[in-house]
Amino acid sequence: MSYLAIQNLSVVFPRFELRSISLSLEQGQTLVLLGPSGSGKSVLLETVAGFHPPASGRIELCGRNISSLPPEERGLGFMFQDYSLFPHLTVEKNIAFGLRRKPEADRRVEQVLELLGVRHLTGRRPSGLSGGEKQRVALARALATEPRLFLFDEPLSALDARMREELREDLRRLLRSLKATSVYVTHDRLEARTLADVIAIIQDGVIRQVGQPHHVFTNPVDAWVAKFVGMQVLRPEQVEPVEPGRVRARVGDAILDATVSEHVTPETARLVFRPEDVHLEHLNGQMRHSGDGFAALVESVVPLGSLFRIELNAGPHFSALVWHADYDQLQFKPGDKVLARLDPADLLLVPEHRKL
């Protein structure tokens, strides 16, 4: 039996619904709900917290059905964007908010202050805290009530890039060290990949794919998920089977071998691959037709920190990501002719939109 089990959950609003959501999570793990805005991920989180009554289905936590309990009886720690500390209370009173009996409360406040290293902030008001301090105080406040599950609703989305990276790391370490079980909502795939033990991709109120981060990011069920997790999508002009699990596809002038895991009808078939799996080399002399890759023209080069995105035109347009070190060696420039190769294991044939 799973620690958290969501079974066939549906929630209906006038203009939106969550349809038959089923998810499970083991103790100490982090489940990331990843989806675009308006996909219903926050609604799902708030339903777990008890703010929306399900139309059908159930939510079990530690083997107990909590679907009909009000939020105050579910034993959860909820954290919103910017962490929603109570602005009229000091750090100490924020943390003690959920604690009832006085002598025990004082001891518990002391404990979590110590655990999260925020003892020096006790008398301060939230408006005087840095982002990192707010995060720790909010975690301390939730932790004080000994919740069985932490819920995070895009806590880092309002921060600038540097803070976001810093707090994401801090949060990842804290969740690990506290052995906390948590559900984390975000639209940021980097955040999802950093924090998740399990990722669920959600779109239009439906779970499209669930799995371990690496699996979801490299084996999307369809082109929509592939695009959402940052893969490149190409439309093949012709597909023919070669052997079980392997097809040969034609895109523009290129003939490519690709992996296929289930039957895909040719009209809806899409080739997907991660841009970092593209191997680039200079093509000296003639543009040549090749059986194992694209002859392509470099259209532009975009530096992205330690990576470079090389935008290519091979008939169809696509991008490749190249490490700084490789870039330094190969020095691609707009107008260069290159050969873009893909290992057949890295190139997948998937349906455009998988029926659920």
Binding site: F51, P70, E73, F78, F80, P87, G128, R141, A142, L151
Partner: protein, 278 residues
């Protein structure tokens, strides 16, 4: 080459100056409005002599009417706060058509002429009115009593209370209340530990506005309770009997009392704790 550049520069200067003076023009209607508000009050106050003010202030009936006004308006504000704050909370936290209809009802007294309000109140609180007749055997009468004054003041001033408090509650981030729920606080506890303290300033603004509106009311009060005379009725009464000189002296006294309580309350609200202050 030098000539056109200078001309263009001069033209740019001119345009910038015009733009700036166009903005300054916006001050003109505002200044006119301020003068319109202040001029009559200042002119009336400056027309008084210290001696007349002192002699009027020494009159028992004047003192008791001013004190009655202050007392009734204060009581009205307290009742409005007790009844209006919970309603304001519900209105701030719901968004459906039903709450919009209730909001319109709350605003109704602003649109009802105050004489009409007084007559409507008579139907309910008069000696033979719905509630008036019911409570009379228990000694609670509204026609010509202090209770009647408060009822009339309440009717005309309560929209200010509900609307200010509603804006105060609406400004409280609902996520704070959600977090409080997950920390184990049931809805009522969330209301008084989160909503109430964070909307405090909106509620107090409502109290002050209600008080100010109540103390200045004459139309509805006059119909439900001409006697005992509140200060505005007293001023009107004296004006009819003796004219401008004496009535304006009482008016200035009332103005001083009203303004000073108003300013003290405002200062209290603004000196009070602010959520954005560390």
């Amino acid at each position: 080459m030098g000539e056109p550049i200078t001309a263009a520069a001069r033209e740019g200067d001119l345009r910038r100056m015009l733009n700036r003076s166009a903005l300054a023009l916006l001050w003109f209607p505002g200044g006119l409005l301020l003068a319109f508000i202040l001029l009559p009050l200042l002119r009336m106050a400056s027309a008084q002599t210290w001696a007349t003010l002192r002699s009027v202030a020494a009159m028992d009936d004047v003192r008791s009417s001013i004190w009655l006004s202050v007392r009734s308006a204060a009581l009205t504000a307290v009742i409005a706060a007790l009844l209006g704050t919970p309603l304001a909370y519900f209105l701030a936290r719901s968004s459906g058509w039903f709450s919009r209809i209730i909001e319109a009802f709350v605003d109704l007294p602003l649109a009802v002429p105050h004489g009409v309000a007084g007559i409507a109140l008579l139907f309910v609180f008069g000696r033979r009115g719905l509630i008036g007749a019911m409570l009379a055997p228990y000694g609670l009468e509204f026609w010509g009593t202090e209770a009647g004054i408060v009822i009339a003041m309440l009717f005309v001033s309560v929209p200010f209370m509900v609307n200010s408090a509603r804006l105060g509650f609406a400004a409280v981030d609902p996520r704070l209340e959600k977090v409080a729920r997950t920390l184990g606080a049931p809805p009522f506890e969330v209301f008084y530990r989160i909503g109430l303290p964070l909307a405090w300033r909106g509620i107090m603004t409502g109290v002050v506005l209600t008080y100010a509106r109540a103390i200045s009311e004459i139309g509805a009060v006059m119909i439900l309770a001409y006697y005992p005379m509140t200060a505005p009725i007293k001023i009107y009464d004296v004006y009819l009997q003796t004219g401008l000189r004496e009535s304006s002296a009482i008016a200035v006294l009332l103005l001083i009392v009203t303004l000073s309580t108003f300013l003290v309350m405002r200062a209290f609200i603004h000196a009070n704790w602010r959520p954005d202050r560390p």
